[in-house]
Amino acid sequence: MQSETPLPDTLANLLGLDPSNPLVLFLVAVVASGVIASGLLALVAVSGIWGKRKITAAFTDRIAVNRHGPAGILIIPADALRLLSKELIIPEGVDRPAWDLGPLIMVFSALAGFAVIPMGNGIQIADPETGLAYVFAMASVASLGLVMAGYSSNNKYSFLGGLRAVAQNLAYEIPLILTGMSVALFAGTLRLSEIVAAQSTTLFSLGGLAIPSWYAFVNPFAFVLFMVANLAEVGRNPFDIPEAPTEIVAGWQTEYSSVYFVLAYLSEFIHIFLGGAIIATIFLGGPAGPVLPGIVWFLIKIVGIYLFTQWARSAIPRVRIDQLIEIGWKGLLVLAFANLLLTAGIVGVIA
């Protein structure tokens, strides 16, 4: 199933072009990115506009949208139209370029992260040697967007939200990356396709059922740590502090309306999916799975992680900002280091 050639090269070959020509490669890469980005946006449209309502409704004992089309699915175009047709209100005194760029950065950083994710069936735009580092770097750029949005909005709630976002991301990015590093130690590489390949061996057999050596099974401790830190990274309960509607109205996104709100909303979901994609890739064997094609398995995994974030959002209370900082620096960071040392020890003994 695994294709070693990245998607642009495949496309170029299909079109009968020479991928070694930089211009051709650039053009097909743009096309490939467009395909993947559109796919992601479609996924967000389904899960963000329709799925989220249905899921939250299921948790809260309601029905949610059910009038537009079968199971209310046509709410997606209706809502998209509604959101886009709203007036874009630009508050007085906002710091214009920064205020406009904030949401864009958030969306595009999250989208850019997908460039190196192997989604199965050869869908991977690039497979650089430093893939894992790249994807973490891209995921963190969003913090910059949050700060820009919070700082430039000329609104104190946004300001507080922006500051909270920075404090939160600092407290969680480090444990997140440290835990990711333990995976890199296991796999001995940062290249994502190789990390996926390293998980395809059989860990042990359970009554004829081969359990693959997914790192979630090899090191469940790291997996749990990563899942928790990821909740903070994507800003979902119990760590939705930068928005915290009951405290600071909507945090950094208070002043965004219309299209900018759509961008902010999009970025949240793409971020959740990027988090899911990272987890799927480094802990759940990427696109690996029986019977179904890789891309389907990959989607199932990231939607599963998305469901987990929605579950957390419906069920778990929010911690306070100081408690979050404490959990991050005094709890997760220590655990992440312990996990890293442990992994280093195990890898050292085995190797």
């Binding site: 000329n154 119990p238 959002r313 929010r318 911690v319 306070r320």
Partner: protein
């Protein structure tokens, strides 16, 4: 400790006898100040000079044990202004005394009682705002319900209702200017929380100065929902026209409890006896209202703590719907019940009775399971405990001084519940307990409400048992009340019931007509909200939001 002045307990019982208070002994205590006596229906009133308010109040508080300033009523007569301090004891609210302070009509002012009772601060501001009495030595005598620029005092006799009023927009603080509120700490940031904010539970404005994420200074700004309820009641006839208003004070399903406050005050004023059968129905309906109100309080508290996608809120609303339907069956309404009448209730239980009893029993029987679920979702959740235990602490002394009542007082360990301590309706015949928690924090207040739901269910169940066996020919739902009720002139009464939020009291003065001359509402939310600065200063913003949620205020009742 030797530094503490020993206070013999006998002193605090001045005038306490087996058959009520001996007011002569109390008068002897403040003999130097008393210039006259008035007899109100609920208690004796001592008339004192305007400059002796502090001395009298503090003597009564420290030497006679009147530690609860329930209400301050201000009113204007043809020849004078008058402030009445309604004092009670938290230990026994049937021991009441009124301190009546007349002041001259041309220059109405008297000493402030805020030094003695913190709660008098807001009550006197309201009196100044609406009636126009000035309080000397008041810490902060400003308008509280009306805008600062309002001209005249609406409840004074010569107020011109047609006078145009101008309320300039500058009343709304500009959040973008004048950042540094506290000169001592230039790093504070001023932020308006409300009047439109997801967690203020209505149009409440909290002027907040932040030091980082912590609250340096906080001042609730109320009055956005002021609808002149007192004045409207003064313009309605006792018999029919006032009863619809109480539903609109605490409109979060506590309607029947509010109606009872008016019913109790007016019935005692006009010496109306309510048939026992009607009292049982009232008790049952009132407790249903309490359950509905507490369920909303608990679920919105979850909203404040968990965030706005929490399942707990919808669970609470779903289960509240059941009791809401029961109330609808009983009263024909879901929000503005208007079910009580002076001397009884509007109509008997819905037919077929068995079916209704069945529904009520189903609800009561299903409640423990639901509450277990809430406890799983809320009180047993470690994150929620982390958030609420030891935050928003309200020590009992402060709670008493601020006149906190209801679940807020009981969450601070104050064993005070009018249903037991000043019994009315059918409560004293039934078997139930007053719930208190000693934590004094947000968690305790949450717990008190959740446990009170169980107690209310117990009461409802017993009422259903009683009603089921009630002989058919004795089902009297209404006493014989004259069509036009004209209580004797110059009768004054202050009566309170245990509303969902605490002590809901009504002061009525009759003047011989069919409408009250003065109608004053003592709102529990008003006094409870006054405790917010004490709870929240120095705490984090989220804890302030949690404290606000745990106070469970309804702005309709705060602003009236």
């Amino acid at each position: 400790m030797s530094l503490e002045e020993p206070e013999p307990s006998t002193q605090l019982d001045v005038g306490v006898t087996d058959d009520g208070l001996d007011y002569d002994q109390i008068e002897a205590l403040i003999d130097d100040y008393v210039i006259g006596r008035e007899s109100h229906v609920n208690a004796e009133g001592f008339v004192i000079r305007p400059d002796d308010v502090q001395a009298v109040l503090s003597t009564l508080k420290t030497e006679a044990g009147f530690d609860f300033c329930s209400c301050v009523t201000a009113q204007e007569y043809q020849d004078r202004y008058e402030s009445i301090y309604h004092l009670k004891k938290y230990d026994d609210p049937t021991q009441e005394v009124s301190v009546v302070v007349p002041s001259p009509r041309d220059d109405p002012h008297n000493q402030s009682g805020a030094e003695v009772f913190e709660t008098a601060d807001w009550h006197e501001r309201e009196a100044y705002d609406l009636v126009g009495i000035e309080y000397d030595d008041h810490p902060d005598l400003r308008r509280i319900l009306l805008p600062e620029t309002w001209q005249g005092h609406p409840l004074s006799l010569d107020y011109n209702q047609d006078k145009p009023q101008i309320v300039p927009l500058r009343e709304h603080a500009n959040p973008l200017q004048d950042d540094k509120r506290s000169p001592s700490d230039p790093d504070t940031m001023f932020v308006n929380i409300g009047p439109h904010h997801p967690a203020t539970h209505g149009v409440l404005h909290i002027k907040t100065a932040l030091d980082g994420e912590q609250i340096a200074d906080l001042e609730p700004d109320i009055g956005y929902l002021h609808r002149c309820e007192e004045q409207m009641c003064q313009q309605g006839t006792y018999r029919h026209q006032i009863m619809p208003y109480p539903d609109r004070w605490d409109y979060i399903s506590a309607g029947l409890l509010n109606e009872w406050a008016y019913a109790r005050a007016a019935e005692d004023l006009a010496d109306i006896d309510v048939p026992e059968y009607a009292q049982v129905i009232r008790t049952m309906g009132a407790e249903m209202s309490r359950i509905a109100a507490h369920m909303l309080a608990v679920s919105t508290f979850a909203l404040d703590i968990n965030g706005d996608f929490t399942a707990t809120f919808m669970y609470g609303i779903r289960d509240r719907e059941v009791v809401q339907n029961l109330l609808e069956d009983l009263t024909g309404q879901r929000l503005m019940f208007n079910y009580f009448r002076l001397g009884g209730v509007a109509w008997d239980l819905p037919e077929p009775r068995e079916e209704y009893f069945e529904k009520v029993r189903d609800f009561v029987d299903g409640l423990p399971e639901k509450l277990t679920e809430y406890h799983d979702l809320l009180t047993n959740n470690e994150i929620l405990q982390m958030r609420t235990v030891d935050t928003g602490v309200l020590p009992p002394e402060d709670a008493k001084s601020y006149g906190a009542t209801g679940p807020v007082a009981r969450g601070s360990g104050i064993d005070y519940d009018l249903r037991r301590d000043d019994p009315y309706g059918y409560y004293d015949e039934l078997d139930w307990d007053v719930v208190t928690e000693d934590g004094c924090d947000n968690f305790s207040r949450l717990l008190v409400r959740m446990r009170e739901v169980e107690e209310s269910a117990k009461i409802i169940e017993q009422c259903v048992d009683l009603l089921e066996d009630w002989p058919e020919d004795e089902r009297e739902i209404q006493a014989n009340v004259p069509r036009t009720l004209r209580p004797d002139p110059d009768r004054e009464i202050y009566r309170a019931v245990e509303g969902a939020k605490g002590e809901l009291g009504i002061y009525i003065r009759s003047d011989g007509t069919d409408k009250p001359a003065r109608f004053k509402i003592r709102s529990p939310c008003f006094s409870n909200l006054h405790t917010l600065p004490t709870m929240s200063e120095g705490e984090y913003i989220p804890d302030m939001i949690a404290s606000l949620g745990s106070l469970d205020i309804v702005l309709g009742e705060v602003d009236r």
